[in-house]
């Protein structure tokens, strides 16, 4: 320990409000503050104990044990993770980590945090500083708990053998919940004694987990981790949001470039990586079919990723193609579904009335109408709507980025309209910038801009041939597109409206696109 014990204790006690730590080091003691904060999760650092301390159940310290090698080639054997996750999944809500070896206390705290259980920690005094740092991190990132997400139900017979099996499922990141009887909503129910899971199958937990995985199939796994076999995932969610907590049990608990897939279409909204530099970013976020994939760069012990389902917009079918009017009161637009844009690309609210975007579609075209309230317009002199206008984005403009290829989200089209009916369309391929057509590409779309100076609103309408933006067959109701809706407005400071914030000073972040659904 490098700091006097009393100073350290104060630091930790002040930092941890939500988790109520209390730490006795070298004879010092402080009183626990009352548990409070955003989460229901609480950690007590011995000897400060909760009134119901006697109800806490002893659990072993989390650890990693290398697999014994008998001398024969076994290069693919994974080390043995000792996680308490299975105990928590079995219903244990209050855990006492009675004996924690040196350096392990932060891991124990992270494990309890991940599974949202109350815990009493009895750390090695030498870990005080590290534990304090971890508790501070967890406090900052605590949030009200959401239900655990699982698509496997395990009918638990309470046997020790079943406990081993549950442990193995945790290690393999086969996300389950313990159920009393089969639940229809789950993709798989595991009940020992059935044809698929005879009693003998419990004899070997590894084979049992493999059998569960085979029955579920990898395509239905809620979380998969590539690049590490000592990381345990915990996923919670409420339908529109999800939180993924990864706990690293590896030898020094430092992980590098873990690739993660989460079943579902999400976009990362926030993340926190313990031990990572402040400027760390999630990398290579892509939707891949029904999954969302991303790379978590270097972190230590615990990583937290908050996910959100993408924003959605529907486009209503029109009976026939129609002339562009740039008029929201036109019959085609009066009842069209719409979305509003009131934030910039960082998600920060933009003052004033929001931008409204409506959409219709026909067999041949996708229509968009932007309604853009303004204080001041930034227009080009001598507009020429007859020809493409390079760098139109340096003036007031409304933009759509649209792509159909969910496997290659870096490929999409960018189309713009200005208040003066100027236009520019571009072919974008962020995967292969050297081969993208850029401005050479021509969509054949039509635009109409109109300025209502009295109301200080300008309107921009686009009619985009589906053949230019979708390589699939004739559009059908239910078809989905990846879409970004943006607007650049005014003079300095210019405003950069983004329907789905990108988190960067840049619209070209395809992972942040929302969804357009033809209705």
């Amino acid at each position: 320990m490098t700091r006097p014990a009393t100073q350290l204790l104060l630091a930790i006690s002040c930092a941890i409000v939500a988790v109520t730590p209390d730490l006795k080091v070298q004879g010092s003691d402080t009183r626990s503050p009352a548990p409070s904060g955003q989460g229901s999760w609480k950690i007590y650092v011995s000897p400060a104990l909760p009134p119901d301390a006697s109800t806490y159940v002893d659990v072993p310290a989390p650890s990693l044990q290398p697999m014994p090698n008998d001398g024969y080639a076994q290069v693919t054997l994974a080390p043995w993770v000792q996680s308490n996750g299975w105990r928590f999944m079995r219903g244990l809500q209050k855990a006492r980590y009675a004996a924690i070896p040196r350096t392990v206390a932060p891991l124990a705290a992270a494990e309890a945090f991940a599974f949202n259980v109350d815990a009493i920690l009895n750390p090695d005094p030498a870990d005080a500083a590290d534990l304090g740092t971890m508790l501070e991190f967890l406090k900052v990132n605590a949030q009200p708990p959401m239900p655990p997400l699982a698509n496997i139900g395990i009918v638990d017979d309470g046997s020790p053998a079943m406990g081993e099996a549950l442990n193995m499922l945790i290690r393999r990141n086969l996300l389950y919940k313990v159920v009393k009887q089969p639940e229809r909503k789950l993709d798989l129910t595991v009940e020992v004694g059935t044809k698929d899971f005879p009693k003998e199958s419990l004899a070997n937990p590894s084979d049992f987990a493999a059998r569960v995985r085979e029955k579920l199939t990898d395509d239905k796994r809620l979380v998969r981790i590539f690049g590490a076999n000592t990381v345990v995932a915990r996923l919670t969610g409420d339908g529109t949001r999800a939180r993924l907590v990864l706990v690293a049990y590896g030898r020094n608990r430092t992980m590098q470039d873990i690739r993660v897939t989460v079943l579902g279409k999400y976009r990362p909204a926030a993340f926190a990586l313990y031990g990572a530099p402040a400027d760390t970013k999630l990398l290579d976020v892509i939707p891949a079919g029904q999954f969302t994939e991303f790379t978590i760069p270097r972190f230590n012990t615990v990583a937290i990723v908050d996910l959100q389902t993408p924003v959605r917009m529907t486009s209503a079918r029109a009976g026939r193609d129609f002339e562009l009017t740039a008029n929201p009161r036109a019959p085609e637009w009066r009842t069209a579904p719409r979305v509003q844009i009131g934030t910039d690309y960082f998600g920060k609210a933009i003052a004033g009335a929001p931008t409204t975007v409506r959409s219709r579609w026909t067999d041949k075209h996708l229509y968009l109408l932007y309604e853009c309230p303004y204080d001041e317009l930034n227009l080009r002199p001598n507009p020429n709507p007859a020809a493409e206008t390079p760098q139109l984005w340096n003036n007031d403009v409304a933009e759509v980025f649209v792509g159909w290829d969910f496997e290659h989200i870096g490929r999409y089209k960018e189309l713009q309209v200005s208040p003066q009916s100027e236009w520019v369309d571009l072919d974008i391929d962020r995967d292969n910038p050297r081969t993208q057509a850029g401005m050479r590409w021509n969509s054949g779309y039509s635009v109409k801009g109109r300025i209502d100076s009295a109301k200080k609103v300008w309107y921009g309408e686009m009619r985009i041939p589906f053949s230019a933006i979708d390589e699939r067959t004739t559009p059908l109701a239910g078809r989905e597109f990846r879409i970004g809706l943006y607007r650049i407005a005014g003079n300095e400071p210019r405003q950069f409206y983004a329907w789905s914030p990108t988190g960067q000073a840049n619209f070209h972040v395809p992972a942040a696109f929302g969804m357009l659904i033809l209705r």
């Binding site: 008998d70 001398g71 024969y72 080639a73 076994q74 290069v75 693919t76 994974a78 393999r172 990141n173 493999a210 995985r213 990898d218 998969r224 981790i225 590539f226 690049g227 590490a228 076999n229 470039d257 690739r259 990398l283 290579d284 892509i286 994939e293 790379t295 290659h408 995967d431 292969n432």
Partner: protein, 375 residues
């Protein structure tokens, strides 16, 4: 074999292992190849010269006692090899058939046994000299390897012009999440092998410079294994206890785009080789000196000839053939290291023939146009 007990234990265990024979017919693993790259109209492998292999011998290329390489001799070997391969008189014309000033060239070396077994720095240096003659800038050349620790031991930077990068997947750009081969071999949870990203982000062409080595799992390791296991991560999972899936995995990785299209030239460094204990063999007892280099665009044809070289040396040393997978040959890793008549995996030397069936080259030795020269 230092422990009869161990041997008995193995034999008992071996009886439980279903696939202990190369003759076993087993299903090809279910591969899922994910890539955004399309094949070139004429992919680099088998390239412009399918079935053609040029071997250049030189008794003076390396001193067996000191293992010092004679750089002028290497230079002459490479010039003769390349001109014979392409039919040009001037080496520059030969190199210009493959590379130009617009290229960013990745040089895939092999240094998994460095410093005792690796692509010789003198060879790599002369390849770079030739690239420069056709306008490739040093800043657009990258000597690379998948693993970080190994490449540092080879000290390539001491042999090449300033500006040439010496990198690994660990030190530069990492891995490309959009290019991988997904397969479940033995129930492992991590089923993906990602391609190193410098290939997809930076390189326009690759020169493959393997060396000549025995390999405990793949039988031998030459062009194909170097460009597959050496460019993708998470490949050791293809070996589990006595089994290995090298048979199909190597060819599948090598045929994944853009590796297949981008690898336009193979130069096999046979100045020094390893006849047992590969790929990481550090025991000098197992080194030998073929004193040759092979040139071609067809990795299958080149590796087919490599089998004979390794097997001949093993025979000369009294070791079992790379084709021998009899259950009685199996032992522990320690025993395998000490005894060249011990296997630790069911060697899958057949991976080369399998790669041929994927269109990567010519395996039939009767159809290989093999030209041998001595300088």
């Amino acid at each position: 074999m230092d422990s009869p007990v161990d041997r008995r234990r193995f034999l008992a265990a071996a009886a439980l292992v279903p696939a202990l024979s190369a003759l076993d017919v087993r299903a090809i693993p279910k591969y899922r190849v994910v890539t955004r790259f399309k094949p070139w109209p004429k992919p680099g492998m088998p390239g412009a010269y399918p079935g053609r292999v040029i071997t250049v011998h030189s008794p003076n290329c390396i001193d067996e006692a000191t293992e010092k390489v004679d750089a002028p001799t290497v230079r002459e070997m490479i010039s003769r090899g390349m001109t014979t391969l392409t039919g040009d008189r001037d080496p520059r014309d030969s190199w210009a058939r493959f590379f130009n000033a617009d290229d960013y060239v990745g040089i895939k070396i092999n240094c998994s046994g460095a410093p005792g077994a690796m692509s010789m720095p003198d060879v790599v240096a002369d390849v770079i000299r030739n690239l420069q003659t056709v306008g490739v800038q040093p800043a657009n050349i990258c000597i690379h390897e998948r693993a970080g620790g190994q490449i540092n031991q080879a000290r390539y930077e001491q042999f090449v012009p300033a500006g040439v990068r010496v990198e690994s997947g660990n030190t530069w750009l990492g891995y490309d999440p959009g290019v991988y081969v997904d397969v479940n071999f033995f129930g492992e949870d991590d089923t993906r092998s990602y391609l190193i990203r410098m290939v997809t982000d930076r390189f326009t062409k690759i020169i493959n410079i393997p060396n000549m080595k025995d390999h405990s799992a793949s039988g031998v390791t030459g062009c194909l294994k170097n460009i597959s296991y050496g460019e993708f991560n998470n490949v050791a999972r293809s070996h589990y206890r006595y089994k290995t899936e090298c048979l199909t995995f190597i060819g599948t990785l090598a045929s994944t785009e853009p590796i297949r299209s981008m690898t336009v030239l193979n130069i096999m460094d046979g100045l020094r080789g390893v006849w047992h204990g590969g790929p990481f063999s550090t025991n000098r007892r197992y080194r030998f000196y073929p004193k040759q280099m092979k040139f071609g665009t067809d990795p299958v044809a080149m590796d087919r000839l490599l089998i004979d070289i390794i097997d001949a040396e093993r025979k000369r040393q009294g070791a079992i053939s790379v084709w021998n997978v009899a259950p009685t040959t199996f032992g522990t890793s320690q025993q395998w290291e000490q005894d060249p008549n011990i296997n630790r995996f069911v060697r899958e030397t057949g991976h080369i023939e399998y790669a041929g069936t994927l269109g990567l080259g010519v395996y039939d030795v009767n159809r290989i146009q093999h030209t041998e020269l001595t300088v």
